[in-house]
């Protein structure tokens, strides 16, 4: 027991000295209090419900209903008032309670002493803002502009208010931006050349389709809510055809699955077109009235395309091509959904143009339930008020400078006059998600300051100087729409932000305040404001009319979700295309301007080098969206390690058995992971799913070169990456 021999006097002296030493009163007297008298009105058992919006980079962009008891979330599910979400979430959405309350979240602003050292010190927001602001001003002074500051932000959170980060950086002057997208660029350009812009039919219209072709799309994993409508349609007698090099989960549900050689989908489409033209199955009237360049295209096909060639090229037997072509051409309406994966090839844009042409000659464009559906942006007409403040007076430079997001590392390193010295990273994990991660790391090494805003520790945070903790959707305000369905979803603040987390908008205001404190007028971004006012400012009359809502608050009170007016849910219903000619352009001068063939011709696929004969594809994984969600332990409990899918025939040639550790290697890099032997992949291809980073020291991009797609500059400023033209060799490790 306690030692009685030490006198009380000594002891009291100790106690007093402790307080004096720390310059604080005894706890509970002068020190800032953690505990305070309880507010009188507090009672237990208060249950509230809030509407949230899942802001992830996902077709489904769900409307969420969040149950909050005593200020903490107890259940998160779909909003029944949204007929697309239908009250249900995907598996990832169901893990949101854990995302919010995992003890592993980033809680406080912190500074790392020595990039990658793991030596972090906690700093206040004020200190963080000061460090960043001072660096910005220092750079501005040294280089005469803010161009050495580079923003790399993309799709981690598509809340419209999150554009505040872009806005804040525009508000300090002209900066360097990671431009482009690893997502859809080639396909979006293709649809841009053909129709003016990519524009898709409402996915709820799968119910109206007579025939559905899912072309390189796997909605079972990437858009479960669309899959519901597809299954419903199937049950009503609609035929579902899936064209894919892999037997995906969706292909497993098809009435007919066609295994096409990767990167030859364009040849298949052109073969089908040849058959349709030969057999007079095309819609002459539609083509005559609504398109230009059909005759040139017709002539090209007649001259260059044969069914035997198509069969040879694609690996799909001629009779199958003929049958599918006939079925597709005679079904009314027939619906094609082109997946993003299909265009991640060096000829991806050209292939999408060929498929567009297939839909056009059969008159399926502009029809309810039909269409050649890829992506759309018709509901995104917000004010983007957060980006509206412009550069401050006297900013150096004339405009923003761009580096290609898809070749980020190399282009950052190559940038000079001025070089890039500071990086701001938000809603992205480039060290895991970019090709050639080692080069990206080198680019980081060149920086004076790397600031990353994130929810969880990941490779990019590990290699940053300052990390800023951000809120989950449930802790901030926002508004979301989808690039696929036609709903607008309100995001209410359901709970207080945990720890010291802040939204990108709050961070933008805070930094602007600090910049203006140090150097008045150095940042045009507002220094304060209620997020609720900010979000109201996003809605203009057009978007209010489109969705039939009076205001954000009105929508919040009335179900939290609204669908756009029917008039826009059928793409090109008015057949007024947004091309230079106003018609569907089989012959596109615009395409020629950008250095492409004006017609939807077949361009050759990337050929496997001799040493690396096996294609390694990295499609999306069902328990993650890029590098998000996969690391959550609820999902790790289902699948706790990455794997590579190998066809038994291929495995045999390398004596690889199920579960063996396999080394995947090419000139860019290598990694080792367990094999899963399966007939779901062809024997010339292996598959490693995208976005796995937790618990391994590699990412699927270790072997991916920054090989460009054929298109992307027209709509996205930069070409995309041919992720799926990644060739490797494998061996038993």
């Amino acid at each position: 027991m306690l030692n009685e021999t030490i006198s009380r006097r000594t002891f009291i002296k100790g106690s007093v000295s402790l307080s004096a030493l720390l310059g604080l009163g005894a706890a509970g007297t002068q020190a800032p209090k953690g505990l305070i008298p309880k507010a009188a009105a507090k009672t237990n058992g208060k249950v509230e419900q809030f509407y949230n919006a899942c802001p992830r980079n996902c077709y489904d962009t769900c409307s969420i209903l969040t149950t909050v008891e005593d200020g903490r979330i107890t259940f998160i599910t779909g909003n029944e008032k949204n007929t697309y979400t239908k009250g249900r979430l995907c598996v990832k959405g169901n893990t949101y309670p854990r995302v919010v309350y995992s003890p592993d979240r980033i809680k406080y602003p912190m500074r790392q002493k020595g990039r990658g050292s793991g030596n972090w010190e906690r700093i206040s927001w004020d200190e963080a803002y000061t460090i960043i602001a001072k660096k910005i001003l220092e750079i501005k002074k040294e280089y005469g502009s803010t161009l050495p500051i580079c923003l790399n932000k993309y799709s981690g959170n598509f809340n419209i208010l999150n554009y505040a980060t872009e806005g804040m950086l525009s508000s300090i002057g002209y900066t360097t931006r990671a431009q482009g997208t690893p997502c859809d660029p080639a396909g979006s350009d293709a649809q841009g050349f053909d129709m003016g812009v990519a524009y898709n039919n409402d996915p709820e219209q799968f119910l109206d389709a007579d025939y559905i072709i899912l072309w390189g799309a796997n909605p079972s994993w990437t858009s479960a809510h669309s899959m519901y409508f597809i299954e419903e349609a199937k049950e009503n007698g609609t035929k579902l055809v899936v064209i894919d090099p892999l037997i995906t989960q969706t292909a497993s549900k098809a009435d007919e699955y066609i295994q096409v050689k990767a990167s030859t989908d364009g040849a298949l489409a052109l073969g089908m077109i040849r058959y349709i033209l030969d057999n007079q199955l095309y819609d002459k009237e539609w083509v005559n009235q609504n398109s230009i360049g059909f005759n040139e295209f017709f002539a090209y096909v007649k001259k260059n395309i044969t069914l035997d060639w198509a069969a040879e090229k694609t690996g799909v037997p001629k009779p199958v091509i003929e049958r599918i072509a006939r079925e597709y051409a005679t079904a009314k309406p027939a619906n094609i959904w082109i997946g993003f994966g299909m265009q991640r090839h060096v000829n991806g844009g050209a292939m999408v143009r060929a498929i567009d042409a297939l839909a056009a000659i059969t008159g399926n464009i502009g029809k309810k339930g039909g269409g050649v559906n890829y992506i759309g942006g018709e509901t995104w007409g917000f004010n983007y008020h957060t980006m509206s403040f412009g550069a401050p007076e006297g900013s150096g430079g004339e405009e923003d400078r761009f580096v290609n997001m898809n070749n980020f590392g190399a282009q950052v390193l190559a940038a000079n006059e001025p070089p890039i010295k500071m990086m701001w990273i938000a809603c992205r994990n480039p060290l895991a998600q970019d090709p050639e991660p080692t080069v990206v790391k080198k680019a980081f090494d060149q920086m004076d300051l790397v600031v990353t805003a994130d929810l969880y520790m990941n490779q990019t945070v590990e290699y940053s100087d300052i990390v800023l903790p951000v809120t989950t959707p449930f802790e901030s305000v926002g508004i979301n729409v989808s690039y696929w369905h036609y709903w607008m979803n309100v995001n209410e603040q359901a709970i207080k932000p945990l720890y010291e987390t802040k939204s990108d908008l709050e961070i933008a205001m805070g930094l602007s305040k600090k910049l203006n404190q140090i150097e008045p007028g150095s940042c045009t971004f507002p220094v304060s404001g209620d997020p609720l006012e900010w979000v109201e400012k996003e809605l203009n009359n057009d978007i209010k009319a489109l969705f039939g809502v009076k205001s954000w608050d009105d929508l919040r009170k009335n179900g939290g979700t609204a669908k756009a007016n029917e008039s826009i849910t059928v793409a090109w219903n008015d057949l007024k295309f947004r091309t230079p000619s106003g018609k569907y352009e089989f012959y596109s001068k615009k395409a020629a301007q950008y250095g492409h063939h004006p017609l939807p011709v077949f361009t050759e696929e990337y050929k496997a080098p001799k040493e690396y004969p096996i294609r390694c594809m990295s499609p999306h994984w069902k328990f993650g969206i890029h590098s998000q969600f996969q690391h959550q332990d609820w999902l790790m409990a289902i699948q706790d390690h990455p794997f590579i899918e190998i066809h038994p025939d291929l495995a045999k040639t390398r004596s690889i058995k199920d579960g063996d550790i396999v080394k995947i290697i090419n000139e860019t890099g290598y990694m080792t992971l367990p094999a899963k032997i399966t007939k779901m992949v062809p024997a010339d291809t292996v598959v490693m799913y995208e976005g796995w980073w937790k618990g391994v020291n590699y990412t699927e991009n270790f072997t991916v070169k920054a090989l460009a797609e054929d298109m992307g500059e027209y709509k996205k400023g930069q070409r995309g990456i041919a992720f799926h033209d990644n060739f490797v060799n494998i061996e038993k490790a």
Partner: protein, 186 residues
């Protein structure tokens, strides 16, 4: 006539997404490895052509529940509507039910030190709501059926990996996927 409630699992519609499993876990705030519903992968050659197929199973609310016979404290009751309910208050955690169940349904909860299993959300059913898994399946692949009223003609009572139904007469039925046409290169 009394009801005979059972799950009808439509494998044709199931995309193996695990949303049923995780929504149940989230709703009941179950410990990480506790699952009242589980999604398992079926053999690739299930319907002849190779496909990715999954089946989602929970408690099968058997007509002759082996758990009920094995339980030494009588924690199991079979309600009139056929739901097999496990009373966790009575359970002493002997785990015999888990051994006796041909489907290994009752799981030992290492925190509560008691067994745990699906109750078909009977408290929700009793107030006119659907079980969480039924309500939350994005594909509407799980249904509750009163087998005394309808015997779905296209359903079967057994799938590969599912134990012989003659042991406990489970009420769960399955709709098997229709084999699609495949043109494969390999």
């Amino acid at each position: 006539m009394a009801k005979k409630l059972g799950f009808l699992v439509n494998i044709e519609r199931c995309i193996g997404c695990h949303a049923c499993e995780i929504s149940c876990k989230s709703f009941y705030q179950l410990e990480p490895n506790m699952r009242r519903r589980r999604v398992t992968e079926l053999p690739e050659e299930l319907v002849g052509t190779p496909v990715r197929a999954f089946v989602s199973t929970a408690c099968n609310h058997c007509d002759e529940p082996a758990c009920k016979k094995a339980c030494p404290v009588g924690a199991y009751t079979k309600r009139e509507d056929g739901i097999v309910v496990h009373d966790q208050n009575m359970c002493i955690g002997c785990q015999m039910c888990g051994k006796a169940c041909p489907y290994g349904v009752p799981q030992f909860n290492p925190v509560k030190k008691k067994m745990d299993k699906c109750s078909m959300c009977y408290d929700r059913l009793d107030v006119g709501q659907l079980p969480i898994c039924v309500e939350k399946c994005p594909l509407e692949a799980i249904q509750i059926v009163d087998y005394n009223e309808v015997e779905p003609s296209n359903s079967v009572s057994v799938v590969p990996t599912f134990a012989d139904p003659s042991i406990t007469h489970p009420t769960t039925h399955f709709i098997l996927p229709k084999p699609g046409k495949q043109t494969r290169r390999f």
